[in-house]
Subunit: 235 residues, 2 copies
């Protein structure tokens, strides 16, 4: 008879099949729209006509509406009854709340570094090097995404996939605010040194020092974003 408990390679397959099982059409459409919005190719405030977008992407209205629901639930789009969906225009109050959330959650995640596996720290280190490399070659968009990866890896210290997904949405919403300013790409460059310092603090498990660097980063970033947002609003 065969073994009754599943052999190791079976569970390995189960984990690998995740990305394989492609989503439905609505989810793939949602993926397309999400990257278009978070990359700033569709400006905040833009109205997404069901007919126009549906024709452009080659899907029916019903399917497109499912995708819209997805993205509206992620707060990237706002759904106004009988008026349609629009790319969200972030309000300064939203920015304030987003940073309050980051302070709360990324701060709590940093405090969990004691029980985190080395693999998690390595991931943070890799994102820092990724950013430094991109900056050395003046690839500013890549610097921005590396910064995203950096904070994503920090959240991962908490060890909760649900929290990761939640913070992914928070970070995506924040990118919307960046794009509402003029030049979103150079935004992240000044913080490369701070990320490196935060990394070394984490590597030595110096929770106190790590929290100091983190809140300093978040405070400065919030101040700069709010100021730029205010300037572009009153030109």
């Amino acid at each position: 008879m065969t073994t009754h408990t599943a052999p190791g390679w079976v569970t390995a397959l189960e984990q690998a099949k995740g990305p394989l099982g492609r989503g439905s059409t609505a989810e793939r459409i949602a993926d397309v729209l999400r990257t278009q919005v978070t990359d700033g190719h569709i400006a905040p405030g833009t109205r997404l006509s069901e007919e126009t977008v549906g024709a452009a992407l080659g899907v029916s209205r019903n399917t497109l509406r499912e995708a819209f629901r997805l993205l509206a639930h992620e707060r990237l789009l706002v759904h106004e009854l009988n008026r349609g969906v629009f790319v969200r225009t972030p309000h300064p109050d939203d920015v304030t709340e987003l940073y309050r959330l980051r302070r709360l959650i990324e701060g709590a995640a940093v405090r969990e570094v004691a029980g985190a596996p080395d693999r998690a720290i390595d991931e943070i280190r890799r994102s820092v090097e990724e950013g430094e490399q991109a900056a050395a070659e003046q690839r500013w968009p890549d610097v921005a995404t590396a910064d995203l990866h950096f904070h994503r890896a920090i959240v991962r210290l908490a060890g909760s996939p649900r929290l990761e997904a939640f913070m992914d949405r928070i970070h995506a919403e924040l990118r919307l605010a960046f794009h509402a300013t003029g030049d979103p790409q150079r935004f992240h460059a000044p913080y490369l040194n701070r990320n490196r310092e935060l990394l070394t603090a984490l590597q030595t498990r110096d929770t106190r020092q790590a929290e100091i660097h983190l809140t300093a980063y978040l405070d400065d970033s919030e101040r700069q974003l709010l100021r730029t947002l205010h300037d572009t609003a009153h030109p």
Copy 2:
């Protein structure tokens, strides 16, 4: 000429109209299904046929699918491609993560009590009294919802509507796990005293003591839930 900056009563109207502006049919259907699921009237694992449910609620399949997307995104339902939607069956690993999240976030929220307005503390007090009253009258379901309100009010200390919405979903998912056990209602009754103690700690702004009571509550609750869940799985 009229004032160019909006008078106070205008913004008051804007806030009040929230509940008035009824949602779409899909959202109302989602509300119905959500309460049915979180109240345990539809058991975990149940398959929700588009045709059957659509006929029962009097909406078309397309509209129903929009509601399903909503609830699947809230993790109350699981959407399997070409198989349909099912009421989520919580796994013990999920329970572990849910409690890890509660420790992390409710703990961080408690730490914010210093900067919280008195109104926030009052809301917590009210939920405690609500639970004590319900328990005195043996209304156990109301005890459970009061406990929910209690923790909801704690999360509100953090001052982030997005975090509140997130934790609402976490708590809803947890109710699913409660319903997977036999008697979900008496679950919350033993913790009334602890809630009262946690409240007094918060009222005196004793952060340290509040955290102790909170983690004690969460640890015990998690242990009890996991044990009961394990027992019912192997009867």
